[in-house]
């Protein structure tokens, strides 16, 4: 049996993270890319031993993910992955706990667990595979499907409004919030790396194409001739420039982001909004998050927000240490005796 040291000396590769199970997603599914980028990134970002990594999921196509990673894994029940992960992480804060989930799993049946995991800042990495459709149940609309979407359960179009996952995570006080796209492997790898390095709850929304039930949902953002004009790549401390020829920028008009033409000569990069990932205030991140909802504005990808706060699991551990220091290590016999005892002779 290979010891830890031997494994470390050997230097891990993507293959070391692939399990012996056949991958059973539909051919052409965006999930393959996510799996590949995770496996490619892990050798580089995992500072801990492989046995300390745990992948947890709920139910849905994305939630088969743990079976394909050669780490500890737990395929849970629908919506509950963040809660199972909370138990794992609190029980053993030394573990590196990752969650693979989908838009139905995390934002519909599991919405409550998601917002509270964010609120508590549990040190989990949550990867949301957002394809805006229910895939495993074969094509019903999801809480991220656009209003008016025609699906099997909405033959005349859906009448409800979708969640904006990035906005939801920022609103729930997640300490790391990012977005990326399955078809942009470099960017996806970079986001995984950043999430892995974050201490606290890291949330990545990954636009993921379901080529069977919602093909092309993100084509505007992935196709060669449209993507540059449709995607705004966020970079810390950089002015927000986009477009095929980097000729467009984002400027604030009050709290409203507007597009300005850099080629016209009326505006320069100095007029543009400059990204600040680390702002204490969530305002900028929130404005950027809602650009997605606006049909005329480009969709931002990248890190919207990263802040540092005490984690929940760390807080529990620190409190135990603090109380133990103050009261001394628990003495069970004393506990059983309690405050008022009497003797019968």
């Amino acid at each position: 049996m290979a010891t830890n040291d031997e494994v470390k000396e050997k230097k891990l590769t993507a293959k070391d993270f692939a399990s012996d199970q056949d991958v059973r997603w539909c051919p052409g599914c965006g999930d393959y890319s996510i799996l590949a980028q995770v496996q490619r990134t892990f050798p580089e970002i995992i500072k801990k031993d492989v046995e300390k990594i745990v992948w947890i999921s709920g139910i849905g196509c994305s939630s088969r993910f743990p079976y394909y990673m050669n780490t500890y894994g737990f395929h849970g029940i629908h919506g509950r992955a963040p809660a199972i992960a909370t138990g794992v992480k609190v029980a053993n804060p030394d573990l590196d706990v990752w969650v693979a989930t989908g838009d139905g799993d995390l934002l519909s049946i599991g919405g409550n667990h998601f917002i509270h995991a964010c609120r508590k800042n549990i040190d989990l990495k949550i990867l949301l595979f957002n394809n805006r459709i229910y895939g495993l149940t074969k094509g019903q609309y999801s809480p991220t499907s656009e209003k008016g979407k025609i699906t099997k359960t909405t033959p005349f179009g859906s009448v409800d409004y979708p969640f904006n996952p990035v906005s939801l995570a920022i609103g729930a006080n997640a300490t790391f919030v990012a977005r990326t796209i399955d078809r942009n492997p470099k960017h996806l790898q970079e986001m995984i790396r950043r999430a892995g390095e974050h201490k606290g709850l890291a949330f990545i929304e990954i636009f993921q194409n379901c080529n069977i039930f919602n093909d092309g949902a993100f084509s505007l953002l992935t196709e060669k001739d449209t993507k540059d004009d449709s995607v705004l790549v966020l970079e810390h401390s950089k002015p927000m420039v986009f477009g095929k020829d980097s000729d467009k920028g984002i400027k604030l008009d009050g709290v409203k982001p507007i597009i300005v033409d850099l080629a016209s000569g009326s505006y320069s990069k100095d007029d543009l909004l400059v990204h600040d990932e680390f702002s204490d205030e969530p305002i900028l991140a929130m404005i950027l998050a809602h650009m997605t909802d606006h049909p005329n504005l480009p969709t931002p990808i990248g890190v919207f927000r990263q802040i540092l706060r005490e984690t929940y699991d760390g807080g529990i551990r620190d409190q135990i240490n603090m109380v133990t220091e103050k009261r001394g290590k628990g003495d069970l016999a004393k506990m059983l005796y309690g405050a008022n005892t009497w003797e019968v002779n």
Binding site: G76, I77, T86, V88, A91, V323
Partner: protein, 617 residues
């Protein structure tokens, strides 16, 4: 104090007292203090707190009445008493609500100050019961408790309202005098409880002492009573409620198994106290997560079990329903968790603060698919301690979820507990799997338990989940024969636990005309009823189930030796249904679902009815 006349002292062996007042009057506190002192002076006792679900219902109303019943004795006590001998009524509503249950020649102590037109009207009294013939036949002591309290606290810096709140300690002081109990335990408690507010400590101490002195001085009371200490087995004792005993039981299991304790839970009456107790045991390394909902409570426990903790979740009926799917996940992943259901009145929100036994079939069967789990039940407040340890032992040894049923009555009720020696409690050994050679996640040992290989163990990386597992490898598997095999293996594993639990004991003769078979919190009541029936010459014995699934191996044999089996339950016959289907026998039932413990006189009546004149006389 030259006015003090010598008062008659009468010896009693057995008294049942009920304190009743507004839910804001502090009756639970008064009752608990009286219980703790009574336990401390060496009486055996049993308590029944009975309070409304509303925290502060409008003052003076009938539905706002909160009661605390206490049965104490110089001999062994099994129940909180069918019928109170003494009622302390702090207002007309408390009198009205409790009078019908009082012993017909019982004693009533009333706070006359509260019998004003407004409170009489709120209690729906047409005329003042203290002045008409409502209380004929009772010994009534009319005491202006409120005004005596404010007189005693004259000059106190507290507000009029705050002074008014001290009246329960006056009443407590009076009862201490009447039953010859020392004040010191309550005095100590007050000093500690209100350490940050000296004025409150002073006022309550004064009220307590004034109540005691009043008993001594007043001519109203001509007799005081003595209840001698009970002859309990030798040892060190404390008074303890079921919820606290349960919490200490799990703490003990954690220490004995050398596993960190994890509780994922969502507050729910009457189980919340367990989360409160365990969250204070930080210096034992206990981790508690107050989860966002019931489902997160149980699923976080499942996660913690996966990571190697002794993991629990605690709840009551409605929460149990919400945890159902996740318990199935623990069955499929074969992880050790303990689910505590402190049963309350149902269905739905039901009667949150009242007791019931109607979650039995939910515990045994309430999951999708064939999802067997071990089910245990605690039968007294102190048994909660031992059953918490036993539930943990079974969960860890067999890698299975275990449901432990208690109920509102034994959770809130208290009794003296002979504190065990730690060395007398069994060690729980838990071998984590570390050896890589020959490791398969679903390769079973002689108990059919699978290995517990926790994340962080090098070389044993594996995946589990809710999809059907292939035998041995644990890979996802949809093969029909494999599924059939796994369904049977999971079932057999739970059935085999029967080889590892004690036989069902019969209290009384091993055969006879009737066996009274019960489970859970009715233990004391049934014991009392059977004892009385035997004293009357009936050939009756008692057996009480602490293991519901599986049943002890000798259960069928025990039942066969009696002509009849009576199963009294606070439900419509859930254990009766189990027993009938398991052993294909006829059983008699006694079912009363009032949100209250059964009364031994009612059970006795049923026994008499079943056996007719067949008592050998």
């Amino acid at each position: 104090m030259d006015e003090v006349k010598d008062k008659k002292v009468e010896k009693l062996s057995d008294v049942t007292v009920r304190f009743a007042g507004d839910s804001g009057d502090g009756m639970q506190l008064t009752g608990t203090q009286f219980s703790d002192t009574t336990a401390w002076v060496g009486n055996d006792l049993s308590t029944l707190p009975d309070y409304p679900a509303e925290i502060r219902a409008p003052a003076g109303t009938l539905y706002g009445v909160s009661g605390f019943q206490l049965h104490f004795s110089s001999i062994h006590v099994n129940t909180p008493g069918d019928v109170p001998d003494v009622l302390v009524a702090m207002n007309p509503a408390a009198l009205k609500k409790n009078l019908t249950e009082l012993n017909p020649n019982g004693t009533i102590i009333v706070n006359t100050d509260s019998f004003d037109p407004k409170n009489l009207k709120l209690a729906r009294y047409e005329s003042n019961p203290l002045e008409d013939n409502t209380l004929d036949g009772y010994h009534v002591y009319k005491v202006p408790i409120s005004s005596l309290t404010s007189n005693a606290l004259e000059g106190s810096p507290l507000s009029v309202k705050e002074v008014g709140r001290c009246k329960n300690f006056f009443a407590l002081g009076m009862m201490y005098w009447l039953y010859n109990r020392p004040l010191e335990k309550t005095q100590e408690w007050l000093k500690k409880k209100f350490a940050k507010n000296k004025d409150l400590v002073d006022a309550n101490l004064k009220a307590l002492q004034a109540g005691y002195n009043f008993g001594e001085i007043t001519e109203i009371f001509t007799t005081r009573y003595v209840v001698e200490p009970a002859q309990l087995p030798k040892g060190k004792y404390r008074n303890i409620s079921g919820n606290e005993a349960l919490s200490l039981g799990f703490l003990t299991a954690s220490v004995k198994s050398k596993l960190p304790l994890f509780l994922g839970s969502y507050p729910i009456t009457p189980a919340s106290e367990i989360l409160q107790y365990l969250s204070s045991y930080k210096n034992f390394g206990v981790k508690t997560v107050q989860a966002e909902d019931e489902i997160a409570g149980v699923t976080s426990a499942i996660g913690a079990a996966f990571a190697g903790s002794l993991a629990l979740t605690t709840t009551s009926g409605p929460g149990m329903a919400l945890k159902t799917e996740a318990i199935g996940l623990a069955v499929m992943t074969e992880l050790p968790i303990v689910i505590v259901d402190v049963q309350r009145g149902g269905p739905s929100t039901g009667l949150p603060t009242k007791t019931e036994q109607a979650d039995l079939l939910q515990a045994v069967y309430g999951r999708n698919g064939e999802a067997p789990v071990a089910v245990l039940a605690a039968c007294t407040p102190t048994d909660c301690f031992y059953q918490a340890i036993e539930a943990s032992r079974i969960a860890l040894k067999y890698m299975t979820p275990v449901i432990l049923l208690t109920d509102g009555y034994i959770a809130n009720g208290s009794e003296p507990w002979k504190i065990p020696e730690l060395d007398d409690l069994p060690d729980i050994s838990v071998p984590f799997r570390t050896e890589k050679e020959g490791f398969y996640p679903y390769l079973r040992n002689e108990n059919l338990a699978r290995p517990w290989a926790i994340p962080g163990t090098p070389g044993l990386e594996h995946r589990i989940g809710g999809l059907e597992k292939a035998d041995i490898t644990g890979n996802v598997n949809y093969d029909p024969d494999n599924h059939n095999k796994m369904v049977n293996l999971r079932n057999k594993k739970i059935k085999n636990i029967a080889n590892d639990i004690p036989d069902l004991k019969v209290d009384g003769d091993e055969s006879g005309d009737l066996l009274v078979l019960g489970w859970g919190g009715t233990y004391g009541t049934l014991k009392d009823a059977v004892k009385r029936a035997r004293a009357a010459g009936y050939k009756v014995s008692q057996a009480h189930l602490r293991y519901i699934n599986p049943l002890s191996k000798n259960t069928g044999g025990v039942l066969k030796k009696f002509d009849k089996v009576l199963i009294p339950e606070i439900n419509l016959g859930q254990l009766a249904k189990l027993i009938k289907s398991e052993f294909v026998i006829e059983v008699e039932q006694f079912n009363l679902v009032r949100g209250l413990p059964l009364k031994s006189k009612d059970v006795l009546e049923k026994i008499t009815e079943l056996l007719g004149g067949n008592n050998g006389n």
